[in-house]
């Protein structure tokens, strides 16, 4: 079996390119079917906001590269735009990549737990389509196991690794205790909702929600035991608010520097924490220049998280060691699995020769007693076993070595083994 993985990630391509290659949940079954139609024995598609990756396996006599090329051509049209952004990884490199991605070592926020869930969902989708059930399935399930080992054996999972939790950490650094702090959520973005949930859980119990659509604000306010505020009324209450989470779809700044200057004056410079998770941004970046106002965009929050993670770089290093071990185990296992047919082949061939030669000898020697026959069988078996012992041991030994394929090929040729 041959394995090939191709894709784009936050490390190689900006979001506008990732968006173009993205495969939505609804079109995923069609994509998997298409890959199989083009010749892939197995196919898995992982499409998240930070990466789009396609992994396929093909039979030994089929090259997986052209299968993926044709798929991308048919699916996305002009491939030139992805030049220099698409990576392509084969066999061991592909396995290592899958393991690292599952262990969240390749994530934008290293150690974040969502990616494993997303990969499991991708695997489940492939399983539902019947597009896994061999090499790729083995690799994925081993990758999930390795990711679990990384989580339990390193501290990588215990850190504030999500952007929304980083917001809570920052709020604590600004206000100390969050109890009694007033939070205003502008808009209904998913990330904003998540950040508000974390803040609520951490003690911020006075939550206000505003939205251009008042019913949406009311709905969200109910979620947080908060209060819905008319969109036109929120600027007047800003000076009472300690934490603002902006995640509306507004295309212009909804909070400007002048406005915030007025608000901070009313608050007598009491600090304010503004979290702008909207794209395009909701809050004028110049607002951050005002003393006492702490404005964090989604990139700033990710930066904070990554700085946290750098602090604990040793956990990631430990995780890399675990992944390297797991990949090595996986490779050895695959090679041993790969050499098994050769061993069976060899044993069958030698047995065939032995049986044929014994038969001929019996035919040529009339009056052979059953005891003599038995002895002949035993002697020839012993000879064959002894001859086979050397090559079989060599096959097994070379199978677990990285450069073992060459030795295996030589043994196959020497014994004229059929593929």
């Amino acid at each position: 079996m041959k394995l090939l993985l191709t894709g784009l990630s936050h490390k190689t391509a900006p979001v506008h390119l990732r968006e173009k290659l993205a495969i939505t949940e609804s079109s995923l079954p069609r994509a998997l079917q298409e890959l199989q139609r083009l010749g892939a024995a197995e196919a898995v598609v992982l499409s998240t906001c930070n990466r789009v990756e396609l992994a396929i396996s093909t039979a030994d006599d089929m090259e997986p590269g052209p299968v993926l090329d044709r798929f991308l051509m048919e699916w996305q049209g002009a491939l030139a735009q992805f030049d220099g952004h698409l990576y392509r990884l084969e066999s061991r490199e592909a396995i290592q990549h899958i393991f690292r991605v599952a262990a969240s070592l390749d994530s934008m926020v290293v150690g974040e737990p969502q990616i494993l869930g997303q990969m499991k969902a991708a695997y489940a989708a492939a399983k539902a389509e019947g597009s896994v059930g061999g090499l790729l399935e083995t690799v994925l399930t081993r990758a999930f196991g390795a990711a679990k080992r990384v989580r339990s054996e390193t501290g990588i999972g215990q850190m504030a690794v999500s952007v929304s939790y980083a917001a809570v950490e920052l709020a604590r650094r600004i206000f100390g205790s969050l109890s009694g702090q007033k939070v205003l959520i502008i808009g209904s973005g998913k990330m904003g909702e998540l950040a508000a949930k974390h803040l609520r859980r951490s003690g911020a119990n006075k939550i206000f929600v505003t939205n251009r659509t008042f019913s949406r604000a009311e709905e969200m306010a109910r979620m947080f035991d908060g209060r819905a505020v008319e969109y036109t009324a929120f600027p007047a209450m800003l000076h009472e608010i300690d934490i603002v989470i902006a995640s509306s779809g507004a295309t212009q700044y909804i909070l400007t520097r002048d406005e915030m200057q007025r608000v901070i004056g009313q608050r007598k410079n009491k600090p304010m924490f503004l979290i702008d998770i909207a794209v395009p941004r909701n809050i004028d970046p110049d607002v951050d220049k005002i003393e006492g106002v702490f404005l964090y965009s989604v990139d700033d929050l990710a930066g904070v998280v990554n700085a946290n993670l750098k602090e604990r770089g040793k956990h990631a290093e430990q995780a890399e060691t675990i992944i390297a071990e797991e990949v090595e185990l996986m490779m050895a296992r695959l090679r041993i699995e790969g050499v098994a047919p050769t061993i069976v082949n060899l044993q069958e061939q030698l047995e065939e020769i032995r049986a044929a030669e014994v038969e001929r000898a019996i035919r040529r020697t009339p009056g052979m007693t059953p005891e003599e026959r038995q002895r002949l069988e035993a002697i020839t078996r012993s000879i064959v076993n002894k001859i086979a012992h050397g090559p079989i041991s060599e096959l097994r030994r070379h199978a677990s070595e990285p450069e073992g394929n060459h030795a295996i090929e030589v043994i196959r040729r020497v014994f004229h083994l059929q593929r």
């Binding site: 600004i174 100390g176 007598k268 410079n269 006492g292 702490f294 930066g303």
Partner: protein, 273 residues
Amino acid sequence: MGESSILWLRVAACLYFVGLVDATATILRRRESFFRVAAGLFGIGVMFHVVSLVEQGLAMHHFPASDILESMSLCGLIVAVTFLAIRWRYQDEAASLSVFIFPLVFLMTFMAALRSPISPWSSETARGTWLIVHIVAELLGYVALLFTAIGSVLYLIQERQLKRKVVPSIYRMLPPLGTLDDLILKSLSAGFVFITIGVIIAIVWAFIEHGTRWIGNSSITLSFVTWGIYLALVFFRVSAGWRGRKAAILSLVALAFCAVTWAAHAGLQNRLL
């Protein structure tokens, strides 16, 4: 000075004292209802103050600004009347000025009200206790200011780090801004109370011991300047919400003045004799 004019001045000082208490309470947390009471009593105090000065002028047949104490009393009255005028003009928008004005008017009037008759010490123990209370109050005030200054500098560092978005590990141990702000406010208000008590005790003590001879002394002027800076620090913190750089600088200046004042007071007793 006329018997009754000094009595009215002392009544005014007592009423202004309520203002001082309110100013201190405001530093911790503005209590609107108490402010209104204090402001009302302050207004009545101004009336007594006027009566006192008029009586003084009539009794002595001269404009009541002939010496340092009279002019201090007059100056206190002008400040008080100006404050009332500002409050009348701007209503509650100017209320926060009271944090600065109330203690200032009280202290000026209080000094003027100690003119005469000053009774001598009832006993040596009372004199000693008075002095110990003064020293302890001042030292507590200095220590509180030290915490204010440390808090303000840490606040400044923490604020800068939060603005820089990425925090090096060494700064992670800093307390949160909110905690520092609370510490600054509490130590500032406690320090202000202690230093004001210390100053009041010192004034009384000095009057009893030395009459008015001490008023022009440079060391004592320095301690009034220090108290004034402390007052300014409190005022800017409470009314304008000074935090960060400005607050850190001002608290360090106040701390430096405290240190100099402390040093200047070494051997002061002998110099005054």
